[in-house]
């Protein structure tokens, strides 16, 4: 089982869109897929029209296999399940802090799902906390979406620095998202941006009105507009991710 997280400490960079569409693409390719929505805003859960069980909360998430397994919900698509986010996840850091091996708790829970799923995608909340460090520990690959703007690059540089000190073994890949080629700044950053050789650089995701409308129709864009340009980009991204995970 592989675990792929989509993370950036900055918000509004397209994490959820990428996570939802990659999870859908993986399930379409026949992988038993689980999307774990860890963002208390619950945008991924919203896109898949799933709500958490009434009894499910942050303590249940960390309590182990049985309660987590029981709380997983089927999406509308074959081979794709969702562990919906609970608002109580806002307390996850406090709960993690009180636990032993506080950075490995999430990994311990997720690895117990290895017989149930081929691949897990984690949609992460936008911050850099103990939960984020749990996500780093759990991931076989962490995809970092970046909007091609100086502010976004600045946040990425800070993250890189943090990771190079604390999580040297974490494999990361960046993908530019919300790319508008007509904008000069986007073009310039795309042309000139380089990453260190340990970091993968995946294909970019264009900005698209179809993506913006995902909140209205509450479906992955790959399901709603499989032939659109944005879908093409997600397919390309999935193929690159797949190639890395299953060489």
């Amino acid at each position: 089982m592989k675990i792929v997280s989509v993370y950036n400490m900055k918000g509004g960079v397209g994490k959820t869109t990428i996570c939802v569409n990659l999870a859908y693409a993986a399930s379409k390719a026949g992988f038993n897929t689980l999307l774990v929505d860890l963002d208390p805003q619950g945008a991924s859960s919203f896109y898949f029209r799933t709500k958490p069980r009434k009894k499910f909360d942050s303590s249940k998430l960390l309590s182990g296999y049985e309660k987590v397994y029981k709380s997983i919900k089927g999406s509308d698509y074959d081979f794709l399940d969702v562990l919906p986010a609970s608002v109580s996840y806002r307390n996850l850091d406090i709960e993690l802090d009180s636990m032993r091996k506080s950075k490995k708790q999430l990994k311990n829970v997720l690895k117990q799902l290895k017989d149930d799923y081929d691949i897990i995608f984690i949609d992460s909340p936008p911050n850099l906390t103990l939960l984020s460090e749990n996500i780093f520990e759990s991931s076989d690959l962490m995809i970092i979406p970046l909007i091609p703007t100086p502010l976004s690059l600045n946040a990425y540089n800070k993250l890189s620095e943090f990771l190079s000190q604390k999580n040297k073994n974490l494999k990361c890949g960046i993908t530019f998202s919300m790319v508008e080629k007509r904008k000069e700044i986007h073009r310039s950053i795309l042309q000139n941006f380089t990453v260190s050789k340990e970091v993968l650089q995946f294909s970019p995701i264009p900005n698209s009105s179809q993506i913006e409308k995902m909140g209205q129709y509450r479906e992955p864009i790959l399901a709603k507009h499989p032939k659109g340009k944005a879908s093409e980009a997600f397919v390309l991204l999935w193929n690159e991710v797949r190639k890395f995970l299953y060489p």
Partner: protein
């Protein structure tokens, strides 16, 4: 199935009526229409079906699932479904591992094709979230024997996390009075195709009544054995997998054993003719089976050799493969010949004859009594021969003992239903240990002779022949050493078989 309901319906009017009832509680939307072709696979002896598994391929994907829980075990991409698969035909590790244990040397055969036209519906809750999927499937199921039938089903699949809603739907289905076939869906599909799913097994199970006459019991047993021989023929002719020939030969040998071990039971001419037929069928198939076994040994032989010599073994196995092809062609032409057809017909006619018409009254005696006599006699003989074998005894004595053990094993299996299963299973397991040891000993002896034969046939003119000869020389040495190890283990294994406990079981079960 846990999260699936399958309903057999006659036409679309029943679908409309069901949807009308569902719409009292849930909204539904049409989610599409699709035509797909599915191919169902299983081994000839239903190894997947018997384990509640099914392997289904379509033009994209091939998946192994547990059909009573509808949970997929593993899958892999598949461009064009093949006629047959072996466990090592698959790339996916989980699929290979799972199937390796189950299939061993058996092939998965295309049991049937299912042309499916599906109308899909989604049943929704108040958030418009799908809480179950409903599909109306028009099926046309066919196989290579031109058997074809049409059927309609409704399949309702629950979605994980929405069990309350699925329970409500199940209640609606129950009140609609439609016939559920989800518990036996595969049986429902397969049973229309001319073979009873799960029925064929090379391990024949005959429920004999202790008071049944011995003659009638023997007829029953021989008829079952004949069925396997006849049913296996096609698979041998098509060279589907080596287990067809194996089942065929085991049945032939069991037939020979039962005829030789229970004398004066059935009319002399029937016994004589059947013995001749079985002997002939056995003889015709010896060579091909031997070569099959050699080919199976390739990795074992490689393990006997140092890495540097392993690749030199290939020409030897190329030769064995060529020999096997010749042997297969020869056997196939025999199997399709009039000679074989007449022999099989004759076997069937003999089995229809009156088995009770004999000069002796042995055949009229209850089968329990006669089987006890035969089994006890063979047990005593094994213990007698085995006890005589010392570390310096001749190889022939071990070979004799091996044949005796084989006879006893067949008798125990064929008459198992007359005795307490626990004791019989235990005795068979004890016997199996000796058989494994003696079987290895025999195989290693025969293999040494065969290798020696190959060695003699090489002139040593070319470098490759010299290399091959050196490999075979190394192999013969390893086989010999292994043979000595196996032989040295025999005395200890036999001592275990000759234990007080086993002797007590033998006396209590079989001495009259």
């Amino acid at each position: 199935m846990l999260n699936e309901v399958i309903l057999k319906i006659s036409d679309s009017s029943e679908l409309e009526s069901l949807l009308a009832q569902i719409s009292n509680n849930f909204n539904w939307v049409i989610a599409g229409n699709q035509d797909i072709q599915e191919y169902y696979y299983d081994t000839f002896d239903w190894r997947l079906f018997n384990q509640n598994l099914c392997l289904i391929a379509n033009n994209n994907m091939l998946s192994l699932s547990e059909y009573n829980t509808n949970s997929r075990i593993s899958s892999e991409a598949c461009k064009k479904p093949k006629r047959k698969y072996f466990w090592n035909s698959f790339r996916d590790k989980l699929l290979r591992d799972e199937l390796k244990v189950l299939l061993q040397h058996r092939a998965l055969l295309k049991i049937c094709k299912c042309d499916k036209n599906t109308e899909l519906f989604r049943l929704l809750n108040e958030d418009d979230k799908t809480i179950a999927k409903l599909s109306f499937e028009k099926l046309t199921i066919s196989n290579d024997l031109n058997i074809k039938f049409d059927s309609c089903i409704i399949r309702i699949q629950g979605i994980r996390g929405y069990s309350k809603e699925f329970k409500m739907i199940k209640n609606i289905v129950a009140s609609a009075g439609l016939k559920r076939v989800d518990d036996n869906y595969l049986f429902f599909i397969f049973s229309h195709l001319g073979r009873v799913p799960g029925k064929y097994s090379s391990k024949i199970k005959i429920n004999l009544d202790a008071e049944m006459t011995t003659a009638e019991s023997i007829r029953l047993i021989l008829m079952k054995l004949a069925d396997i021989i006849i049913e296996s023929e096609d698979g041998i002719k098509q060279d589907i997998d080596i287990e067809f020939l194996h089942d065929y030969r085991v049945s032939v040998r069991k037939g020979r054993v039962i005829l030789s071990e229970l004398k004066n039971i059935i009319p002399v001419h029937i016994r004589k003719e059947l013995k001749e037929i079985f002997a002939e069928l056995g003889e015709r198939t010896n060579n091909l089976r031997d070569l099959d076994v050699y080919l199976l040994k390739k990795s074992t032989y490689e393990s006997y050799l140092p890495d540097v010599l392993k690749k030199e073994l290939s020409p030897l196995f190329d030769n064995i493969r060529k020999e096997r092809l010749q042997a297969f062609k020869k056997l196939k032409s025999f199997l399709i010949s009039e000679e074989n057809k007449n022999m099989i017909l004759q076997m069937e006619c003999l089995l229809e004859e009156d088995f009770t018409f004999t000069n002796s009254s042995e055949g009229d005696k209850p089968v329990l009594h006669q089987s006890k006599l035969a089994i006890y006699k063979r047990c005593k003989s094994i213990l007698k021969i085995g006890r005589r074998i010392k570390s310096n005894s001749k190889d022939e004595q071990l070979h004799d003992l091996r044949l005796e053990c084989k006879k006893l094993r067949y008798l125990l299996e064929l008459f198992a239903s007359l005795f307490p299963p626990k004791e019989i299973d235990f005795l068979v397991s004890q016997l199996k240990m000796i058989q494994d040891n003696l079987g290895d000993f025999n195989d290693l002896s025969v293999q040494q002779d065969k290798m020696k034969m190959y060695l003699d046939s090489y002139l040593g003119k070319s470098k490759s022949e010299i290399n091959l000869a050196s490999v075979i020389g190394g192999l013969i040495t390893s086989l010999h050493q292994r043979n000595q190890v196996v032989r040295n283990e025999f005395l200890e294994i036999f001592k275990q078989f000759d234990s007080k406990k086993n002797n007590k079981i033998i006396i209590s079960l079989f001495s009259s």
